[in-house]
């Protein structure tokens, strides 16, 4: 019997990752076939060569080369290779698309090459929040969501930050309502068209659907030129659609201009109508007027003055604000030009009293609202010119939280004006 030895012609690698394969091969000096087996963190066998597959990311893979001999050869000494198992890398696929702010929350979906479950976390909490798999849009910007897979004994952890743009579709229609005029019955051709402009002030493009007229009297209105239906409005762009009032009968009519789009929040609507009450007509046409103004020409520093004024108008109520501007050092014409430069103001005051006004508008009586404010003239180092302005807000705008607006001051008053629009009265604070 002759001895024999095994020569490994292709050794196992020192390390191998989970789920990878490698090939080993060996020959015997006897030329007899070498049996190759594996154990531990791998599997695979063969004769002369074998493909070994790593079955774990930890431990050791042992490859054993064996030649048992035959009638002419004694068994060869076994040879072994040891391969240290390693965790495999994994990758994450995380497809995302841009979203319109206002879209419903959505379920994030990502897959790991390992097949293991992926979890999510928020990276831009001011733009979007993440709870479990649910992503909620909070504001316009770039939303970044981290997709994570923590790994296991066979795979290393992996993570991927996915980002998408959160944009806005800010669709508006102007005018948002229109009071149509008198039109001939049954003569739509001669009706005066009114143009409505639809504008996208958002950051994303917006696709408009088919514009329609709905509501109780939809049949009393008709489209003229329609440049909006089916249009895509890019950011900042607009289109125009004409609507005509085509009455077939007398009386009050009301309908809606319906502007469908892919804006998830806003089925845009304008109101089309031909009627208003006398009271509303009075409010629409006749702004409140400053009235019964009692402000001294000169005020002495440190002294308190009760300043009174009234607003005569047709709304159910008004708030009013008296605002003071110091003209010292101001270039000519600029004193009191902007509300933000004031040194004192009453704030929005509610009327102390009201009584029927002296105006009527087609049977609707106005109301006079009386305001009062105790003003202490500030200390001055020399006689100082100040400008006084008045602001007002009507009941609907008070409720809507809108800012008050500057009032015109009537012409015939015993004091001077600072501008040609009569919005700024000039007074003096005297130095004592």
């Amino acid at each position: 019997m002759r001895n024999q030895t095994i020569s490994v012609t292709q050794h196992a690698p020192a390390t191998a990752a989970y789920n990878t394969t490698f090939t080993v091969s060996a020959t015997a000096s006897s030329s007899l076939a070498v049996a190759i087996t594996s154990s531990g963190s791998c599997t695979g066998s063969g004769s002369g060569s074998a493909t070994i597959t790593m079955t774990s990311g930890t431990g050791t893979c042992t490859v054993r080369y064996n030649q048992a001999g035959n009638t002419n050869y004694t068994p060869a000494p076994d040879v072994t290779d040891a391969t240290t198992a390693q965790k495999a890398a994994q990758t994450i696929s995380f497809p995302l698309t841009d979203k319109v702010l206002g879209s419903p929350s959505f379920t994030a979906s990502a897959t790991a090459s390992s097949g293991l479950t992926v979890s999510f976390s928020e990276r831009t909490p001011t733009v979007c929040s993440v709870s479990g798999n649910t992503v909620t849009l909070l504001a316009a910007g770039t939303c970044t969501v981290r997709a994570s897979q923590g790994g296991n004994p066979n795979y290393n952890p992996a993570q991927l930050d996915g980002s998408f743009a959160v944009g806005t579709i800010q669709l508006s229609v102007s005018p948002s309502n229109w009071l149509f005029g008198v039109e001939q019955l049954g003569d739509c051709a001669s009706s005066q068209p009114v143009a409505f402009t639809v504008k996208n002030s958002g950051t994303f493009s917006c696709t408009l659907g088919t514009l329609a007229i709905g509501g109780p009297d939809a049949g009393q209105f008709s489209f003229g030129t329609n440049g909006c239906t089916g249009q895509t409005l890019t950011s900042g762009s607009s289109c125009t659609v004409q609507v005509k009032f085509c009455p077939t009968s007398v009386g009050s009519k009301g309908a809606n201009l319906l502007i469908p789009s892919n804006d998830p929040q806003t089925p845009l609507t304008a109101f089309l109508y031909n009627h208003e009450s006398r009271a509303e007509e009075a409010r629409r046409r006749l702004p409140p007027v400053l009235y019964s103004l009692n402000v001294p020409e000169e005020m002495i520093e440190g002294q308190q003055y009760t300043l009174t004024w009234s607003l005569l108008g047709y709304d159910e109520s008004y708030q009013s604000n008296i605002v003071f501007f110091n003209c010292t050092g101001m270039p000519a014409g600029t004193c009191g030009a902007a509300y933000g430069t004031h040194f004192h103001e009453s704030g929005d005051l509610n009327p102390q009293d009201s009584e029927p006004g002296e105006w009527t508008y087609s049977g609707v009586r106005s109301t006079k609202f009386d305001f009062s404010y105790a003003f202490t003239a500030p200390a001055v180092t020399a006689d100082t010119t100040i400008v006084i302005r008045f602001y007002s807000t009507d009941q609907a705008d008070i409720e809507a939280g809108r800012a008050s607006l500057s009032l015109l001051i009537p012409g015939r008053l015993s004091n001077t004006y600072y501008d040609s629009e009569g919005r700024r009265l000039v007074k003096i604070i005297k130095n004592q």
């Binding site: 102007s174 001939q184 509501g215 009301g254 089925p267 600072y418 629009e421 009569g422």
Partner: protein, 302 residues
């Protein structure tokens, strides 16, 4: 001579006359039932909470007949975003000049622009359904036209005019509507002790430009949000009559003339609406005739 200034202000606020075209026309002005307000813009309201209640008043303006109301309802794209409350109109029979009210609250359940129609069914044959509109959004341009009235500006009016001479009188209106027409009206105050020019219809109305379309339009100097206003320029060539109305000579020492301005925006032009009196701004070389600044005084002096 300046007339007495102690003038009831109701007299000062006289509106320009209707000019009603002939032919069959739609008109909502004389309908029996009216709702007030027709439109209400609700304020920002937190999701799933109620806004303050807004009351809509239905009035029967028919002087002799009652009107029966049906069930008020909300309709339209976002009807579910509004609530009806405190409804005294449901099934009501309104006597002449009687009213009822319905409250509406805004109750948003999602973000965005919302709108609905508030419908009032009735036995008014002309208006079987009266409609009001509730919304939470208003275009900035609409808000500007609603809140900011036009202002008379750049007035060029001599303080003294001579009979027989022509003057090119110019003024402008600055505002947010797409158009205005304007009328300058002059009143002869000779021998008027008080209230000169109190009413457009006064017999002392010496001359008027009539409702003029503007001579030119230029960008204005105001801005409301991202909306710019416009300045509408008017020109009227006025030749001072050689004599007063009726042929009397002008007083040798001159006489006061009250000048008033009226205007009408595009909406009211289309409705054949009347012009309304304009306030005249404060800082002018001329003098004023009333405390609401609607009348200024110039002179005609031979």
């Amino acid at each position: 001579m300046k007339p007495n200034l102690a003038t009831p202000l109701c007299l000062l606020f006289v509106l320009y006359a209707w000019i009603t075209p002939s032919g069959a026309q739609s008109s909502a002005q004389d309908m029996d039932l009216a709702v007030d307000p027709v439109i209400r813009v609700f304020p920002v309201t937190a999701l799933n909470t109620d806004s303050a209640e807004v009351r809509f008043r239905i009035t029967n303006h028919n002087a002799s007949e009652s009107r029966a109301l049906g069930v008020p309802s909300l309709d339209g794209p976002n009807a579910d975003q509004f609530l009806l409350v405190n409804d005294s109109c449901n099934g009501a029979s309104l006597l002449p000049n009687q009213s009822c009210t319905v409250g509406v609250k805004f109750h948003p359940t999602s973000q965005g622009s919302k709108a609905a129609n508030l419908l009032f069914a009735s036995d008014d044959t002309e208006t079987p359904t009266l409609t009001a509109f509730v919304t939470n959004s208003e275009a900035t341009a609409s808000e500007a036209t609603r809140r900011i009235p036009p202002v008379l500006t750049a007035l060029n009016l001599p303080t003294t005019m001579v009979p027989g001479q022509s003057y090119s009188l110019t003024w402008s209106l600055e505002g947010y509507h797409s158009d205005y027409s304007s009328n300058m009206v002059l009143f002869d105050c000779t021998s008027i002790a008080a209230d000169c020019g109190a009413s457009y219809g006064d017999a002392t109305r010496l001359a008027e430009s009539g409702n003029l379309e503007c001579d030119s339009v230029a960008p204005g100097s105001w801005q409301f949000g991202d909306v710019d206003d416009q300045r509408f320029n008017y020109v009227w060539t006025f030749t001072v009559p050689a004599t007063r109305l009726g042929g009397d000579p002008w007083p040798a020492g001159g006489t006061d003339i009250v000048v008033r301005f009226y205007c009408k925006d595009d909406v009211d032009q289309s409705r054949n609406g009347r012009s309304v009196s304009l306030m005249v701004p404060g800082k002018l070389a001329g003098s004023y005739y009333d405390t609401t600044g609607r009348r200024i005084v110039t002179q005609i002096k031979p």
